[in-house]
């Protein structure tokens, strides 16, 4: 192949790459992420293909620290799935979106510890019941015992505060989730990759010409 051909080659390749890139900018990537956070005694999960499309009917499996399966459920059309924290340990939330797509998220034990301690102290409405798995946000168990007539002892104040904090922090946690969800690959990644490939081609040329040193470039 002549040098001119080679140059024409590279130019057309660059053009193809640039065109593809232009078409790609609003595009979505090909992987899934799952994010889980604790709200009250409920663990909420959100699953998306990166780029923002929700995973519908994805299977969410929850494991404890020893990799024992605790429960499983399916995401709704918003990619969400909530369950009541079944154990006090760290939880591993694994999403299987089918066709070889998989993502996971770890809920650290500290995030659950306070909630569970409180739940154990005040059995009744707030106690975890693994039977009720797929419930919406409205079904979140409220402390029915907190009637106006009850005296406000320390525990109730604490529980009320935690409830209020959970409520106030929920949007923040959601924002964090949005921020942590990686946006698709950036232009830097794309050009970096193309650069690597061109570099490999250059390396190939280098080795080739070094082998027949002295011979002029064909």
């Amino acid at each position: 192949m002549k040098a001119l051909d080679f140059a024409r080659w590279l130019c057309s390749g660059m053009l193809v790459g640039a065109l593809a890139l232009a078409a790609a900018l609003p595009a979505r990537a090909h992987r899934v992420t799952v994010f889980a956070w604790v709200e009250g005694d409920t663990v909420r999960t959100e699953s998306r293909f990166s780029g923002g499309k929700a995973v519908n009917e994805g299977v969410v499996v929850v494991y404890d620290e020893q990799d024992r399966e605790l429960l499983r459920g399916k995401t709704d059309e918003n990619g969400e799935f909530s369950f009541e924290a079944p154990a006090r340990t760290a939880l591993k939330v694994v999403l299987e979106a089918g066709m070889g797509h998989k993502g996971e998220w770890i809920v650290p034990a500290e995030e659950l510890a306070g909630v569970q301690a409180e739940a154990e102290e005040a059995p009744g409405p707030a106690s975890p019941s693994p039977g009720r798995m797929e419930e919406g946000p409205s079904a979140k168990s409220e402390p029915e015992g907190a009637t106006p007539t009850a005296s406000l002892d320390a525990r109730e104040i604490q529980s009320a505060m935690e409830k209020a904090l959970d409520k106030k922090l929920a949007p923040v946690l959601k924002m964090l989730a949005e921020a942590r969800r990686e946006q698709g690959p950036s232009a830097r990644d794309v050009f970096g990759g193309i650069g690597y490939i061109l570099g490999l081609v250059g390396l190939g040329s280098y080795v080739h010409y070094r082998k027949k040193s002295g011979a002029p470039p064909s």
Binding site: L10, S12, A24, A29, G51, M99, I194, V201
Partner: protein
Amino acid sequence: MHISEGVLSAPVLASGAALAAAGTAIGLKKLDYDRVPQAGVLAAAFFVASLVHVPLGPSSVHLILNGLVGLLLGWVAFPAILVALVLQAVFFQFGGITTLGVNTLVMAMPAVMCYGVFGPWVYGESRFAMPAAFAAGFLSVFLGALVVGGALFFTHEDFWRVSAAVVAAHLPVMVVEGLITCSCVAFLKKVQPAMLPGYST
């Protein structure tokens, strides 16, 4: 098409890696120097193509271009696709490092098969050249879906269900790939026939 880490069992990963290594070795042996720039450009095109999203699908699907890579490179598709997949895994977190072998197989094996079956038709002057190019683009994705189904079957999932799901999800991509392969081949035949393996000397 990219299988994530932690989905497949170790034997499947190992045999995928072994087969991909064999294919890559054959490809590197067949790669003469004149084809290195071409392989590089096509690897770059393959690398970027995965970002071109086809919005028709029910799931998240993108262009693959393995049919085109296969038609233009033959066995060299293996090393070219392997390089592009390494970069996709590192930069985009598509697939993963452990599944590299299987993913290479998923995309490169159909490419080589289509090269073998449709190549002679495509490079020739007969009126079947364009349909053959379309079929190469279409079927290389289809066969890739079957390889995905096979890989998942040996791990735990049901072969027919997975294959059907992958094929259904990629149907729009198959058609688009067929058309792209078709138009690329037609363009190259007119403008730069030296790029097609049949003409290379």
